[in-house]
């Protein structure tokens, strides 16, 4: 706005007053014929942007341009301040600005609520007020050190920090520090997050994990002791029923022979179950450390061990170069043995052809054992890795149903996974992953 100093009804000063009230962002330049320097200074003091004498009107465009530039700069600054204020106010974290002497010069509502103060109670106070008594001296020292070398600082990394509320209550916090250089010196923006809930959740998770580990260990111990101690009396039951069968077969009546047969069979089955249970428990009780293991060599020795089964079923086992994996050699052998044993057992009318392959999968090797056997129906997939789950009658196929449960437990102990694909009638492929060796040996 351009205004003359002297107007018929009112003066330029009155216009200035109205403008400052209604539209303070619009710059006003007084254009006047006679104006003493004193009056001019007075006008500027009152809020006029500039003044131009009518005798030097050539200066007017320059004055206008400067006034508009100043307006733009001012508006940008105001916008930035507004954005900053809103960001601070709407932040979910507590935010405090602290000057070089440790005095709080700004705080947002979250910080005030977090520390239990009203909105005007924090400004001007020392930041140490929010630090528990016992840490105050140390905090002052740290602050001095920080002041000498201010750097951006992550949220409480690696250290448990505590803050104190107005009512004296302490709570764990994470703190981020950001140096902000202003004309009034270096200030520090403090971002504070109350992590009480997170710490509580962490504690609960740790507690839960410990409890789970303890009960797992106990359960394993129980399974081991139970199965081990059950073996002895069961050996007696089995041995004496067998002895009876041997000594008295044909000497009692037919029913007696049959019933003794049932007892012998039951005792044998229970012995096998207990041995399988022990084998399952041994996956962790007799675990050896994982080390670089040539899976091809392990497979070759398993094939040698299974020679009778392989020959009996006329099976053909093929594999190409297999990798070195990070494994417990005995247990890897057991996985191969169980999978190949199954592939031989559940063969179709054709002689079994079993192929073992390996493909890299991230930091693991994915091994597969593919057969051309009877296959597995999709609806059985959930049960197949469970302990003592059998998909067939004992008359069709022998076994207790522990093999895949053991394989799964071993693979999981190695941090891997086991699963299968199958087309009933055409064959099954079991996949499992084993870790690669850390040193890049593969």
């Amino acid at each position: 706005m351009l205004a003359d100093y002297n107007l018929p009804q009112w003066s330029g000063m009155e216009a200035l007053e109205v403008l400052l009230h209604e539209e303070p962002s619009v710059p006003l330049i007084l254009v006047t014929g006679v104006l003493g320097e004193e009056t001019a200074v007075e006008c500027i003091k009152e809020g006029a942007t500039d003044y131009v004498l009518k005798s030097s009107l050539a200066r007017l465009p320059v004055a206008i341009r400067r006034a508009l530039q100043e307006k733009q700069v001012r508006e940008q600054r105001e916008l930035a301040e507004e954005l900053f204020r809103r960001a601070v106010e709407s932040s979910p974290s507590g935010i405090l600005m602290v000057d070089e002497t440790g005095k709080i010069c700004l705080s947002n509502a979250v910080a005030e609520t977090m520390f239990g103060y009203k909105c005007d109670e924090l400004a001007g106070q020392s930041i140490e007020m929010l630090v528990p008594d016992r840490f105050r001296r140390l905090h002052r020292e740290h602050r001095a050190a920080y002041h000498n070398a201010p750097i951006q600082h992550g949220l409480g990394k690696g250290r448990d920090l505590f803050a104190v509320r107005k009512d004296g209550g302490e709570f764990p916090v994470e703190i981020g520090l950001n140096p902000v250089h202003t004309s009034a010196g270096t200030q520090t923006m403090i971002v504070a997050v109350d992590i009480t809930a997170r710490k509580q959740a962490e504690r609960e998770a740790e507690e839960y994990t410990r409890e789970l580990q303890r009960s797992n260990a106990e359960l394993e111990q129980f399974a081991y002791v139970a199965s081990h101690d059950l073996q002895e009396p069961l050996r007696m039951v089995a041995s004496y029923t067998e002895l009876l069968a041997e000594r008295y077969r044909g000497k009692l009546d037919d029913k007696a022979d049959k019933y003794i047969g049932y007892a012998v069979d039951g005792a044998h089955r229970m012995q096998r179950l207990i041995q399988d249970l022990l084998a399952y428990a041994r996956v962790s009780s007799q675990a050896r450390p994982l080390q670089p293991t040539d899976s091809g060599a392990v497979l070759a020795s398993v094939v040698t061990q299974l020679r009778q089964t392989i020959e009996k079923n006329n099976a053909k086992i093929v594999w190409q170069h297999l990798p070195v994996v990070h494994a417990d050699e005995m247990q890897l052998g057991q996985v191969f043995q169980n999978l190949i044993g199954n592939a031989c057992k559940f063969h179709s009318e054709q002689p079994p052809r079993i192929e073992i392959r390996a493909t890299p999968a991230g930091d693991m090797w994915q091994l597969s054992v593919a057969d051309n056997g009877i296959g597995i129906a999709r609806e059985s997939s959930a049960r197949i890795f469970q302990m003592f789950q059998r998909l067939h009658t004992r008359e069709e196929y022998e076994g207790t149903g522990i093999g895949l449960a053991i394989a799964k437990r071993i693979v999981e102990r190695h941090g891997g996974q086991i699963w299968f694909d199958s087309v009933p009638g055409a064959g099954t492929t079991f996949y499992f992953t084993m870790p690669k060796c850390g040193g890049g040996i593969a």
């Binding site: 002895e232 069961l234 050996r235 007696m236 089995a238 004496y240 067998e242 002895l243 012995q271």
Partner: protein, 145 residues
Amino acid sequence: MTESFRILLVEDNPADADLTREILQSGPRAIELTVAATGTEAVDYMHKRGRFASAPTPDLVLLDLNLPGIDGRGVLTEIKHHPELRRVPVSILTSSLSEKDVAQSYDLGANCYVVKPLDFKGFQAIVWELENFWFSIVKLPRGEE
């Protein structure tokens, strides 16, 4: 003339002891079997103490490891530290698969270590094997010292 062999079986479980007796009786040789149910009894028997004053020294000791009181390791130590008894072969017959038990037994002078099979047929086969080994294949110290 049928040669007769003497076995001392140290076994606290009477069912196990009877089973061994049954198997030995149905075997090809005449065996005189004595059962000691505790380690103390076994040691007294070997030393011919008290009621065992007139007991003959056995040709073979079948020794269980886990016994109440003096256990199998104690009995083994006692036999293998005695200048006259040490020549009597001792076969450990146990259900323990522990490598520690195996090593310790041989260290203490056991002549062999046999794990009892879980099934009757297996156990029978092993008892007969032991009988055959110690009384047919092996030349045992007899008579003169």
